[in-house]
Symmetry: C2
DNA sequence: CGGCTATTTCGGCTAATGCAGAAATAGCCG
DNA sequence: CGGCTATTTCTGCATTAGCCGAAATAGCCG
């Protein structure tokens, strides 16, 4: 990895590990970190050199990141190559990723649970407990989905403000 | 998988896939689903038979689940074998897992970012942008950690109530 | 202590993932 | 169309993760 300040490299490696723990390919996460820390959009070749990866590898990784919606292609004046740029606002990034995971994982899970629950057939007694547990999981996910949709409507500055209120927010809502 | 209602099997398989996408071993997640759906604690042998796994495999998987804090060992009258039982309250489960992920992943990330930022040395100009990005990521994580600590204090019923308020909660806080 | 049962650890095989390099494709001038 | 560059797809190797069965360990009576 030439050209990188040590602190950047340190972060990139760590981010790769974290990604791996969350089901994101290690190098995909590293590339994301690199782009996030980069002041300007980078083209594939630069990414290869900086992180010592094969060109083809970078191609698919970058596509993956675009799939998540946190990296975009840009073009520079008089350069035909694709340049890649990460979203820079961490809050926004979090929103985008959260929404995407909801779409990919939570929604299908809810659908499956619903399917299970309204699976016709005679309601066998042996299934009663299973259904009960599935019901309560459904309830949880329904609530979570609704709630996150609400929160998603609120602007980042407003959210930050609310988060900083700490206890006060809770008291305002009559909780705590 | 003998003995399992089809809807249970369906859910277990799905849960395994979801786990895999979140960095949890597929069979670990399956076992978790099985225990969650099970009316009574199961011993390792039962898990083996039901999910068709090797005994040793179950041993480590179950340990993993205990490590996450969502499965506990219980003992039954006159049976020396360990029996395993999943937490049943989905909300509580979510709390526990969230806290554990924070401990394992967010905290170390924050620590690393802090290390990077206060990495002495002369503040090279080339690092300025990197530092800026790290700062803003730190800010985000700090806020998230604080906020989640606040929320974690609130009882589940209170949280559910708040979540169900929908728009009203936002208006009460002066958002939206 | 010996025998029994339950659990864990270990060694090695298998399957899945990740990745490089080559080949194919696409896009762009001239 | 031909040549050039950038990108993607494909093929197969390498690494890792997952998992089984055997062996070792632990715990519990008698």
């Amino acid at each position: 990895m030439p050209d990188l300040p040590p602190i950047a490299r340190k972060f990139i490696l760590h981010w790769g590990e974290m990604g791996a723990r969350w089901g994101i390919n290690r190098t995909v996460a590293q590339i994301h970190a690199l782009l996030y820390l980069s002041e300007r959009p980078l083209h594939a070749e630069e990414i290869c050199e900086t992180l010592d990866l094969a060109r083809s590898n970078v191609s698919v990784a970058v596509k993956e990141l675009q799939g998540w919606g946190i990296v975009k292609i840009t073009h520079l004046q008089g350069d035909s190559r694709n340049h890649f740029e990460s979203m820079k606002d961490v809050y926004e990034m979090f929103r985008v990723i959260t929404n995407e995971r909801k779409r990919r994982e939570v929604d299908p899970t809810l659908k499956l649970i619903n399917d299970c629950l309204q699976d016709g057939g005679k309601p066998k007694a042996s299934e009663a407990y299973v259904r009960e547990r599935l019901e309560s999981m459904k309830e949880f996910f329904d609530l979570a989905v609704n709630f996150s949709a609400q929160v998603d409507k609120v602007s980042t500055p407003a959210l930050v403000k609310a988060a900083k209120m700490g206890d006060k927010a809770l008291r305002l809502l009559g909780l705590s």
